[in-house]
């Protein structure tokens, strides 16, 4: 219900820079996800917001109030923990009432608010139980209820679903999103599961090496990645070296016509990226406007809904296509010659390097 504004936050552990110059704005009521590989600083950022780490410098403001120097127990942010952190020595109801008691809420109001939230997280029958009598998923509901019942300005969650099995994870994430939307609570969510991030979020914020790479709507992060790191981390991608000679461009010694090249300032090396799902294997000859690359098949694997076809270009670069499992594709064998083709307009251009900027 309150906007969060983070300005120039820095944090290092000795020589390790965990966060370098983090700037983000989170609109009130939105679901904001921090996504990134292990060790990129997601937890550090979340815990800095919660007040468990002291930042080296920078400003954190919630609803325009600076809180970066407020002790953790006086920040009005709720937190849901990866390992649930449900107090093992008190009952479910007492766990949920804990924060209200700290806030000196009247007894009768505590009872009614606890009852309401138990309803929302569907734990009504378990109020009197002790935590060890609950399953992991139920414990995490207690953790969520406990954080929500105090009506925090911001809700923080650090991989809250990662200890649950795959099926439960999907169910709970729908439920979580529904509760978040109905309560309209500003939420910062940490995950390294990109599907989870894309499915739940209003804004996905991709982090790498303590730096924010891109913060945008899931659709934009996927389709308009800001740099090659985002392009490779969110969804799969094929990166192919592009050699440019005057106006002629070539991928793996096959010259290609890429109209977008004209709008790019030719500087250093350029890499072309194309997502596997845009690649057609052995297209019919009458399809126009396709970039066609001769390949040698390496491996064909069936993943259930689709086929993954891995192949090698003449240059030795590897390339993968994901297509519908047709009989032609299933019939492919390693070392078969084939053609991978994709529309030129689906090709994105990046500067070379792990976080090379997108040129087009």
């Amino acid at each position: 219900m309150s906007a969060v504004e983070i300005t120039s936050i820095r944090k290092s552990y000795g020589a390790t820079v965990a966060l370098s110059d983090i700037n983000i704005t989170i609109p009130s009521g939105s679901f904001f996800t921090l996504l990134g590989p292990s060790g990129c600083g997601k937890t550090t950022l979340l815990r800095t917001i919660a007040g468990f780490h002291q930042q080296d410098s920078g400003i954190i403001a919630i609803a325009k109030q600076q809180i970066e120097n407020v002790p953790a127990h006086k920040r009005d942010v709720g937190m849901v923990f990866q390992d649930y952190a449900v107090f093992p020595h008190i009952s479910v109801a007492d766990n949920i009432a804990f924060g209200l008691k700290q806030r000196k809420v009247a007894r009768s109001e505590i009872a009614s608010r606890v009852a309401d939230i138990l309803d929302i997280v569907q734990l009504k029958p378990y109020a009197a139980r002790m935590p060890h009598e609950l399953s992991g998923g139920q414990q995490q509901r207690v953790g969520l209820a406990r954080a929500l019942v105090i009506n925090p300005q911001v809700l923080l969650m650090d991989e809250p679903l990662s200890n649950l099995d795959a099926k439960l994870r999907v169910d709970l994430r729908r439920e979580l999103r529904a509760i978040q939307q109905s309560m309209n609570i500003t939420t910062i969510y940490v995950t390294h599961d990109q599907e989870e991030a894309l499915a739940m979020s209003d804004i996905v914020c991709v982090m790498y090496g303590g730096v924010i790479q891109q913060a945008a709507a899931p659709w934009d992060v996927y389709n308009s990645p800001a740099n090659s790191f985002v392009a490779s981390f969110v969804g799969a991608n094929n990166f192919l070296a592009l050699s440019i000679d005057g106006t002629q461009a070539a991928i793996a010694e096959t010259s290609v016509a890429l109209p977008q090249l004209s709008s790019v300032q030719a500087g250093g090396k350029i890499v072309a990226a194309v997502r596997p799902e845009y690649i057609v294997v052995n297209p019919a000859n009458d399809e126009d406007d396709l970039v066609r690359l001769p390949v040698k098949i390496r491996q064909v694997s069936f993943t259930g809904r689709e086929m993954a076809v891995a192949a090698t270009l003449a240059s030795g670069e590897e390339i993968e296509a994901v297509t519908k499992p047709t009989s032609d594709i299933i019939a492919l064998h390693p070392n078969d010659e084939a053609v991978f083709a994709f529309p030129a307009r689906k090709v994105q251009l990046f500067e070379d390097g792990v976080t090379g900027a997108r040129l087009f």
Binding site: M1, S2, A50, G51, F52, I62, A63, Q65, Q66, I67, N69, V70, P71, A72, H73, K74, R75, D76, V77, G78, M79, F81, Q82, D83, A85, V86, F87, P88, H89, F98, G99, Q102, R103, G143, R146, A147, I150, N151, P152, Q153
Partner: protein, 561 residues
Amino acid sequence: MTAAIATPSFFTGRLKRPGFWTVITALAVLLLAVLLLLPIANVLAISFFDATTGNFGLSNYVQVLTRRFYTAALWNTIVIGLLGMLGACLLGIPLAFCTSRYRIRGRAVIATFAVLVLCAPPFIGAYAWIMLFGSNGAVTNILSSIGIPAPTIYGVPGIVMVFSLKFFPYIYLMTENALNTINKSYEDAAENLGCTAFQRFYKVTLPLIFPAVSTGAIICFVLSIADFGTPAILGRGVRTLATIAYTQYTSEMGGTPTMAVTVSMLMIAISMIALLLQRRILSKRRYASALTNRPGKKAMSPLKSILVHGFCYLVVFIAMLPAFTVVYTSFLETSGPVFTGNFGLGSYERILRDSPQAIYNSFVFALAAVALIAVVSGLLSFIVVRRDNFVSGSLDLLLMVPYLIPGVVMAIGYVATFQHPPFDMTGTALIIILLVFIRRLPYGVRSTTSILRQIKPSIEEAAINLGASPAKTFASVTVPLMMPGLIIGSLMSFITAINELSSTLILYTSRTITMPVLIYVQVIDGEFGTAAALSTLLLLSTGLCVFTVFRFSDRKESAFV
């Protein structure tokens, strides 16, 4: 919900005020500095000023290391320490092997006896053996009546025997634990590669349990050289550093206890060398192993079964013999120092009539010290486990120190430190309570840190996040979760606190006398009846605590080592 947020300036102002844990850490450092480091520093300082001339230098050390009076004691101490350790190993390792590898009936009884032996005050052993094998002992008299000369209990052999029987439980419990947790596959592999049973034990099992055995052995060694009561009662002319430190101290009474202190420093040095040596050996051997194949317990042939059971029960029975003797004796009627041969409660009547003060003091001092230990160890363990900084690391290390400093030394340090107004505490109950507190604090901290390490920090963070202050979080979340460790730690410190002799002997006055001191005095005076009654009382309180720890701890007997 915006109520909790205040203006930034308010908080930047607040931040300058140190947090709860910063204050507690500072207090802890102050406490240990005054109660632990200062007395030791004082003792150390005294040892560098010449006993007669008062000049600064190493002259005292030169004297201690050259005069026969001292070198003989040094030699005795080392020999007794090493032989005591060896004896404890020879009893403890085979016993551990039997109980962990064979199906032994009543293993719990053996383990319980071992723990009781461990917890009983050591001087009880010494004088119980005198009552059996001393010049007028029961066994001696029986043997001489049929013309057999009884083996002497006095001197080095007697002291070594008492130490072996007293300290073997450390070796036994640690080794048994190690034997129970080594991966059986190693032994199987050795057998598969063609080792005989003995080779297998010698080449595979023993090296694997070496870390545990050596840790137990070092504890035995350190305790043997620090023990005062046993050589004092059984010595008969054989002096050790501990007894010299005490007698020198009492003879230098009033003056500066220079020689007592120098001797004490030597004891500390020996303990430290032993500890460092063991650390060095251990650092080269770390065997981590995922436990996949737990060793099983074998059934035995009837003959072997009888032999093995016989051995196990014999060891713990002999080790418990002093306790049995003491309890038995306490119910014998005496007339003066002579036992009349009838049963009765006379000794108990006399201790209740003549020395209620000692009984009262013992319990009050021990309880007060334990209350302090419980509070301080709870807070200290939080600092050590949860706060990751230089100070908390040093506190952890500092808490090892009391293990190394013999009680006599700490007591001399306390007198030297706290004898000047306005901090003159000599002769008060407070000085005894504080000394016992600092000496037994590590037991409490060890127990609470081990349980705190099992509590996930996220539980405490959750409380903080929900608005509980650090102090409130500690009280309402950490302490309840730490409670089992606190209770066990308190009981174990109570056991050691109520049996404390070596330091109280130096600090006591007629008003602050305790049961162990009174027992010592009565044994020296030959009043075995009342000494036995008091000892029985001590054994009873110790036994009750052991029983309670067993109820509370899932690790049972291994909680004691």
